[in-house]
Point group: C2
Chain length 236, copies 2
């Protein structure tokens, strides 16, 4: 079964390879190679074959036929990235993003699916950031974004240290309900357990994010609308 993958890989090289050569380099018989090729064709791989002298077999120029397996964090980031792209990429390049998302979701368990289904609804795209914000924008944030994204997607509480505009650092526990982009600055619209109220946090000012065990239920967007003024960028 491993051999099928190897074979598919070999066929991807541009030259025409003869079945005989393939059989030798895979240590098997030509008959088996022919059978394997049929299996690959059944799977939908477009394999060209030329008969006669100088002929051979070749996988028609194509791209995404391999199998991709991802880690947890990669899947989370990919899903969020796709959601952002679908929100942002101004319909142009999202034609085929939807099927990818469906394929990804087919691999998830039912409760994971429900997390992802409302994902796009939790990502908000605003206008571009103002020069004032940009001037204080930390270009290379040292925080681990993976903690942020995991807590956001999995709807888990997040423990952070936050440095406000006067560089005063406070430790907080927040529920990251919505992500809000004033390009290129990301904000988290959250429930703040310390202040017991809705607060906005600029992601590049978050210092030591840590996903907590406790989860939360996403609040309706209406609870946060008053925090977003489309004319002015948000200054937390």
């Amino acid at each position: 079964m491993q051999r099928l993958d190897t074979l598919a890989g070999m066929l991807k090289s541009d030259d025409f390879l003869t079945v005989k050569d393939l059989a030798i380099s895979l240590g098997t018989s030509t008959r088996t190679i022919f059978r394997d090729i049929n299996i690959l064709r059944d799977r939908g791989l477009p394999i060209d074959a030329d008969k006669g002298r100088g002929g051979g077999v070749k996988l028609h120029r194509s791209w995404g036929l391999g199998r991709l397996s991802l880690t947890d964090q990669e899947t989370i980031d990919l899903l969020i990235s796709l959601a952002i792209s679908e929100k942002m990429n101004s319909p142009l390049f999202m034609d085929n993003l939807k099927p990818i998302r469906y394929k990804l979701m087919a691999l998830l368990s039912p409760d994971q699916k429900s997390n992802v289904e409302n994902l796009r609804g939790r990502i908000l795209i605003g206008s571009s950031a103002s020069p004032i914000v940009l001037s204080s924008y930390e270009l290379s944030p040292r925080q681990q974004a993976s903690e942020l994204s995991a807590a956001f997607l999995c709807q888990r509480q997040l423990s952070i240290c936050y440095s406000d505009e006067s560089n005063k650092i406070t430790k907080r526990t927040i529920e990251p309900h919505y992500l809000y982009l004033n390009y290129p600055v990301w904000y988290i619209l959250a429930w703040d357990h310390l202040r017991t109220g809705f607060r906005t946090f600029r992601c590049d000012r978050i210092l030591k994010p840590m996903v907590m065990e406790k989860s939360f239920k996403v609040r309706p967007f209406e609870d946060f609308t008053h925090m977003i003024k489309t004319d002015n960028p948000i200054l937390p």
Copy 2:
């Protein structure tokens, strides 16, 4: 072999299932289920098991362990989307995008890789579009974006009909060298074979894109710099 996938899917449900139940619903013996579970464990799936009364088997909560296989066009769009995300998403959510890109590229043949390697360098992000441009922006473009993206990624010539600002439609053959975003409007920086010169095309004004056989070599960015003024959005 199909059974392994089904089994992995069943284990993803949150309840603890007994091996006996799994054997019945999969129409096989418990011994086989145990063997299958070992195979899945060898593949790295974290499977919890509780002995004793009320015990059972369960796949530990995790995300990205399935195998994803994509079509050509999906792979192309995903790669482009990732490249855009890495360019745009303002370092926050790109931590794990790079490994995904590497995994995707591992599935590609050598010549396909070289196409992808310089992909990010061919995507340019500018400022936001001006109100003037936005007013004439076609929100639901009817063109097939997949043709555009395929031609761009595979470095193939593109036959298009272009409707300019006075709605005059001309048929052209272009080489799509660079993509340029004035959010939310995408432009293609191209060599125009009809006018034999560098031209900029607004993507939403492209009508019948068609990938041609003939390929081209990407020209250095310097050839196009004079077409981009960061202060003014481009009006082709």
